[in-house]
């Protein structure tokens, strides 16, 4: 089944207990780092690994860490983004529920590399039951001397706090998250300044996704070079994919980067093929924000190359014929899916989750939702289709945070690849799918 970095022991229901995690080799990376490596040494391994952020943007983690303003005399903070709220994405939840100590270990190592004494986990509000799991695991780590003062006698101290959100997708955007963590309304901040210079309480801050941080222990144990051997090209290592939709085996899968998309969908070891035997119609490959692709373009690029799960392969062809790896939320749709209804559903989500600060996103998302509702429900007009494209263009790239883009891309791509279906909805005065 390929190499497992994050999920090797995940089927053991006891893994969330400290002793069980420890028996599988847990916390040896902390011992190794604190006893034999300098903070810069840890940073160096992460850089060599080529690890890229798993929260959606795919920014190289080592490079992000190197931007931290280390000269600043203010405290430095590390924040773990566990707000996972992107429709179709449920891989962080999987790790948090089953393997919380891997995240805690990753936070200790990252905190050590970054010279951080206080770290936070910002947890999606709806994951309240995970708060209990995490708090228990954090308490165990304190008790065993892996958190708190003078960890393992190394002189390095780290406090870790878990902070639940209150149910807003926008608080997953890193600067909205910081506002919320400071106790304010979760509005994204203007950048610059970037969090690496002025983040939490105006102090230098690194924000990383759960999956990103949970990968660090493996990198410290095995070395960055060995991690970079896994995967393909600039997409190193493995990626958790949350697969959902019309497939036989929905769930979370750990894949080596470069794994063929076709095999992923049809192999019994993974998605197991289409659920009701109906043909594949479309896939949203990286969470609801990324462009949707029709069956032909998700299996093969426009040049006929088989697509694989990696940043580069999924992006091949740009937005004309490609998409993005995003957060790895792989939503599979068969022929029975109405693209208009699906798009309406996504757009309704973005309208509901827009913070409302900037005019293109606030007004544009609600306008698009209203038009899509009309088209789906028989009140569509032919000019609505181009109007939707125009509105999405007027939002894209013109907002404070990427939620605007995330709302615009699904609209533009659905019309790009499935325009006929929109036209038919107008002609037939509504939807003909069940």
């Amino acid at each position: 089944m390929g190499i497992k970095i994050l999920t090797e022991h995940i089927d053991n229901p006891e893994l969330k207990k400290f002793e069980v995690y420890r028996k599988t080799g847990g916390y040896t990376a902390v011992e190794k780092a604190l006893k034999t490596m300098s903070p810069d040494g840890v940073m160096e391994e992460v850089k060599k690994s080529g690890l890229r952020g798993r929260g959606g943007a795919g920014f190289p983690t080592g490079m992000k860490w190197s931007f931290l303003d280390r000269k600043s005399e203010k405290p430095h903070y590390l924040v773990c983004n566990a707000d996972e709220g992107e429709p179709g994405t449920f891989k962080d939840r999987y790790l948090l529920e089953r393997n919380p100590h891997a995240l805690i270990e990753g936070i200790i190592l990252s905190g050590y590399a970054l010279g951080v004494e206080d770290a936070y986990i910002y947890l999606r509000g709806e994951f309240f039951y995970i708060l209990q799991i995490l708090e228990k695991a954090i308490a165990e780590a304190y008790e065993k001397g892996f958190l708190g003062k003078n960890i393992l006698g190394s002189g390095y101290s780290l406090n870790l706090y878990c902070h639940p959100g209150a149910g807003a997708y926008i608080c997953g955007e890193e600067t909205a998250l910081l506002e919320s963590l400071e106790g304010k309304r979760g509005n994204p901040r203007l950048k610059p300044p970037f969090p690496a210079v002025s983040g939490l309480y105006n102090c230098p801050t690194v924000i990383n996704n759960v999956e990103t941080l949970a990968t660090i222990p493996w990198i410290v144990n095995h070395g960055g070079d060995q991690y970079a051997q896994i995967g393909v090209g600039r997409s190193t290592g493995t990626k958790l994919i949350s697969a959902s939709g019309h497939i036989k085996n929905p769930g979370v899968y750990e894949l080596e980067m470069g794994f063929p998309v076709e095999e992923f969908i049809y192999s019994d070891q993974y998605c197991g093929g289409m659920k009701n035997g109906k043909p594949l119609k479309a896939v949203v490959a990286g969470g609801s924000s990324v462009p949707i692709l029709p069956a032909g373009l998700i299996l093969k690029t426009a040049n006929g190359e088989p697509r694989n799960i990696s940043y580069e392969s999924l992006a091949e062809g740009g937005f004309e014929t490609g998409t993005m790896l995003g957060s790895g939320g792989f939503i599979v749709m068969d022929e029975s899916t109405c693209i208009v209804r699906n798009l309406y559903n996504f757009t309704r989500f973005y309208r509901h989750e827009s913070c409302g600060q900037c005019s293109p996103c606030r007004e544009g998302t609600s306008w698009m939702e209203k038009i899509l509702y009309r088209i789906e429900n028989g009140e569509g007009r032919m000019h609505d289709i181009d109007l939707l494209v125009d509105i999405s263009n007027n939002i894209e790239g013109k907002t404070i945070c990427p939620l605007g883009d995330a709302a615009a891309w699904p609209v533009a791509s659905a019309i790009r690849h499935f325009r006929d279906e929109f036209v038919e909805h107008v002609n037939r005065k509504g939807c003909w799918f069940d």
Binding site: L190, R351, G356, R362, E363, K370, K398
Partner: protein, 315 residues
């Protein structure tokens, strides 16, 4: 000092200045419109997106253009930067889009809105709006909201610039106004509708770019262009006491702070000066005030009011 070029005009500004500050130093047409930024209030800007401009050259050191349009109000200028505002088709298109968005839910009630004639959104629509709206959906409605005896709030007209929120946090001794809810449901409110009681709360009226916050003491009394503005001052223990009186005949209809050429208040004034001193005898009159703006006010400037009477509008 650093050198910045905007629409082919070069200007020197201090390091750390924004693109907007550089543009304002040049003045005139190169200044991008601003609906949310307010130089006198910290943290404002970045929200309305009307000031988007194109950076054709990042700096002398790094001449690459910036991939996306940037907000002039909050983007630091760099030495050797080349910016396009009115010269860039991309900027003009983007600004048209933003104006369209700002108007989608804006009620078409200028005929009964006290702000008409000195409304930044009206000016902006003149400049960049289309004759016809492509918005065919229902407009947003909010519940009735009473924020006390001095100030009328009308959330339907609000463009969520957040100026009043920052003003309340920075100028008054309590945080009076805040934003409830998200997205297009977001609305300005005093926290749980507490009346805005503070000596300086009335300034929210002057910083509001539209008619979402208006003066209850002069509500519906006159169209702006039928009143004559006079600079006046008094010895006020609370504020600088420098105001503009808007008078109809000998009656003082309304009192506001004085605004500069960018529509920003020069000195914030207290509520007593604004709401309680409506007698001419309360003031020392300095003389007529010349209003520099594009909207109806200057077009129908009081200095030409007689002439307008002679040529009634065509029906």
């Amino acid at each position: 000092m650093i050198k910045v070029t905007i629409d082919n005009i070069e200007v020197e500004v201090e390091e750390g200045s924004t693109i907007l500050e550089a543009a304002r130093k040049i003045g005139g047409k190169v200044v991008p419109p601003t609906m949310c930024y307010y130089s006198k209030l910290r943290d404002t800007g970045g929200k309305c997106r009307t000031c988007l401009v194109k950076v054709a050259k990042g700096s002398a050191k790094d001449p690459r253009p910036m991939p996306k349009l940037v907000v002039a109000c909050s983007t630091p200028a760099q030495d050797g930067m080349v910016v396009e505002n009115t010269l860039s088709q991309e900027v003009i298109e983007a600004r048209k889009g933003v104006v369209e968005f700002l108007l989608t839910n804006h009620p078409l009630e200028c005929p009964i809105c006290d702000q008409a004639g000195e409304c930044d959104l009206q000016d902006l629509s003149y400049g960049f709006g289309e004759g016809e709206s492509r918005y065919e959906e229902e407009r947003r409605r909010f519940g009735y909201n009473d924020i006390g005896p001095y100030i009328k709030i009308n959330n339907e007209r609000c463009i969520l610039c957040y100026r009043c929120v920052y003003l309340s946090a920075q100028l008054t001794d309590k945080r009076l106004l805040g934003v409830l809810f998200r997205g297009d449901y977001a609305e300005i409110s005093t926290y749980i509708n507490a009346a805005v009681e503070n000596d300086f709360s009335g300034n929210v009226i002057d910083v509001c770019p539209v008619g979402a916050l208006t003066d209850r003491s002069s509500r519906f009394k006159s169209r702006v262009w039928f009143t004559k503005p006079y600079d006046a001052h008094r010895d006020c223990p609370k504020c600088a006491g420098k105001v503009v009186l808007w008078a109809k005949g000998d009656e003082v209809i309304r009192i506001t702070a004085r605004k500069d050429e960018f529509g920003e208040v020069e000195d914030f004034i207290c509520n007593e000066c604004r709401f309680e001193k409506k007698q001419v005898s309360d003031w020392v009159i300095d003389g007529p005030r010349h209003i520099k703006r594009q909207s109806v006010i200057s077009l129908n400037h009081y200095e030409t009011i007689n002439k307008l009477k002679e040529t009634p509008p065509k029906d």
